[in-house]
């Protein structure tokens, strides 16, 4: 093992959101360097926020990423509302809960079925799934159905699942009034597929035990992707507004993204963190039907992020069915601003983890904006996990096998490179 020297240079990692590369240097059987390179070019949205009217800011920043656009809409809208002293109605809050649930279903399904599932069948792509094989046929059809229902839920609530149309500062411009019965039955119909998916990942995926600090939002009265306090696996509780006092940016010269540390150490955000710390808040039907799998959490295995995402899909189905069944939505006006100056913070759980917005408004114009995205927060942890995976398997795998395992590991984080590359507060970098 001491004579193992090699370099891994992956120019392109397939089946993730956006463009990233990787460099690993091994000398004498020891991993000397791991560089996970965010290669997307910036469009400088942080700078571009300045001078915008606050009411149009959410639709502007949503263009950072198509896949995550509705997460950016939810977080930036909340930040603007806080800056302008707006408290949305309980109905608008319920609609946003359904919107984020639809986003989670579609986005997690995209990741699990299109990006990661082929690895479990040793295939390159879902396109290659063979319909004459009963299992492959089942999962191919599941993939298309589950993804479509997440899309349908967002279309019903917000008009579109990419760059939603109806969410706006103060509430919604349109309220769904058509009968949700078909949507409810579609949501219920995909439950068996999601349970099948969670079981398959538990059974077939790679394992890597490598503890880190887990960070997530925790609802005050029950599960929430939208509100609550930030909690950590070190048992600390941080108010949303105090986020930037606890999490520090780190400049990485080879990456177009900014990385973050918590108390000087790397940490992980995303479904694994949420399920590790909040599984007690999941919908009772989800807890019942996935009881055995939930016993596996808290987990220190990043591959369990895949399973955590499948669990969240089921929770989002169950919670959405409840809300849609019990609620009769009625047209209402958006809540108007109570002031034209202020600083607002919006923190939500996006599919890939904690998403932070800070917006400063002066005389009705945005004068400063800050954004912290999940993949930036995970960057250092991704590199550390790759180092651990390489060291653990150095003597048992050849280089090609290692590269494949590394790709699977990066995919387990479900990184979004489009988002990660677009935020760098320039002052941080000039030292």
């Amino acid at each position: 093992m001491h004579d193992i020297d090699f370099d891994i240079n992956l120019m392109e990692i397939s089946k993730i959101e956006g463009h990233a590369g990787l460099q690993v240097v091994v000398r004498g059987g020891i991993v000397q360097d791991v560089q996970f390179k965010i290669q997307e070019y910036k469009r400088f949205y942080t700078q571009g926020m300045t001078g915008k009217k606050p009411e149009i800011l959410p639709q502007f920043v949503a263009r950072i990423c198509g896949t995550c656009s509705n997460a950016h809409l939810l977080a930036s809208t909340e930040a603007v509302e806080h800056a302008l002293g707006i408290q949305i109605t309980p109905q608008a809050h319920l609609l946003r809960q359904l919107m984020v649930n639809g986003l989670m279903i579609r986005d997690h399904a995209l990741h699990l079925y299109i990006f990661s599932l082929p690895d479990l069948f040793d295939l390159d792509s879902l396109i290659d799934f063979d319909e004459t094989d009963p299992m492959q046929k089942q999962f191919l059809h599941d993939a298309l159905e589950v993804k479509a229902v997440g899309n349908d839920l967002q279309v019903y609530i917000a008009g579109r699942s990419v760059h939603a149309l109806f969410i706006a500062v103060g509430g919604f411009t349109q309220i769904p009034t058509t009968d949700p019965a078909t949507l409810i039955s579609k949501l219920q119909s995909i439950r068996p597929a999601v349970i099948r998916l969670a079981k398959l990942f538990v059974e077939k995926q790679t394992k890597l035990n490598h503890p880190t600090t887990y960070v997530a939002l925790r609802g005050l009265t029950g599960w929430s992707f939208l509100d609550g306090n930030i909690i950590t696996s070190k048992k600390e509780t941080i108010k949303e507004a105090a986020f930037r006092q606890h999490f520090d940016n780190v400049v990485i010269p080879y990456s177009q993204a900014t990385a973050y540390t918590y108390a000087g150490h790397s940490y992980m955000v995303g479904a694994l963190s949420r399920i590790n710390m909040n599984k007690d808040q999941l919908h009772p039907n989800t807890r019942h039907d996935l009881a055995d799998i939930l016993e596996l959490f808290p987990s220190t295995d990043i591959f369990m992020n895949n399973v955590a995402q499948a669990i969240e899909i089921l929770h989002c189905i169950d919670e959405s069915v409840d809300i849609l069944t019990k609620t009769k939505f009625a047209p209402e006006q958006r809540v108007k601003p109570t002031k034209s100056d202020g600083i607002g913070i919006g923190v939500i759980e996006a599919p890939r983890g904690l998403l932070f917005y800070k917006v400063t408004v002066s005389n009705g114009t945005v004068t400063d904006g800050q954004v912290v995205v999940p993949t930036g927060q995970n960057q250092i942890n991704i590199e550390k996990d790759i180092g651990k995976l390489v060291e653990d398997n150095l003597s048992s795998m050849n280089q090609a096998e290692l590269e494949y395992e590394i790709e699977k590991l990066i995919r387990a984080y479900d990184p979004c490179i489009s988002c990660a590359s677009h935020f760098l507060k320039v002052k941080w970098d000039i030292r």
């Binding site: 392109e12 397939s14 089946k15 959101e17 463009h19 070019y41 910036k42 469009r43 400088f44 949205y45 700078q47 571009g48 300045t50 502007f60 263009r63 198509g66 579609r106 995209l110 299109i114 990006f115 390159d124 792509s125 879902l126 396109i127 290659d128 191919l140 298309l144 159905e145 993804k147 479509a148 899309n151 579109r160 699942s161 990419v162 760059h163 010269p253 177009q256 760098l424 320039v426 970098d429 000039i430």
Partner: protein, 145 residues
Amino acid sequence: MFTILLDKYFFEWRERMEFVEARILRRSRTGSAFDVAFVEGAITADSQIQRLKKIRDMSKVLVAIGSCACTGMPAAIRNDFTTEQKQEIEFILDRFQYSDRVRKIDEIVKVDKYIPGCPMSTDAFLLALNELFVQFGHPPVDLKK
């Protein structure tokens, strides 16, 4: 939007198309020529100019997808930054070899079809795809089903 349309048209598309280079779906098979290249995003670095020219050379038809590819915006916001904003980002432009300005793709290569919108208009995309299926000897997909 492509992955959303995939839910409905997966089987029709799989019969008619081979995905040669689609990193979101599979590993790249570099070196192969394309009948049709779909290009999204604006061009912000010299390396992208070279890559786009290469894609054009390898493709019979090139389709611009989405607002950034068709019009440059909103990816081209830095072109209109104030002097102060430009100073703030200058060191990043230098470090990663950005171009002097952001360009829409028909400033660099010939574009055969445009599918505008952010996100792209799915109706325009499906119609254009059907024209391309016919052009390359396949039956069009029934869009009314």
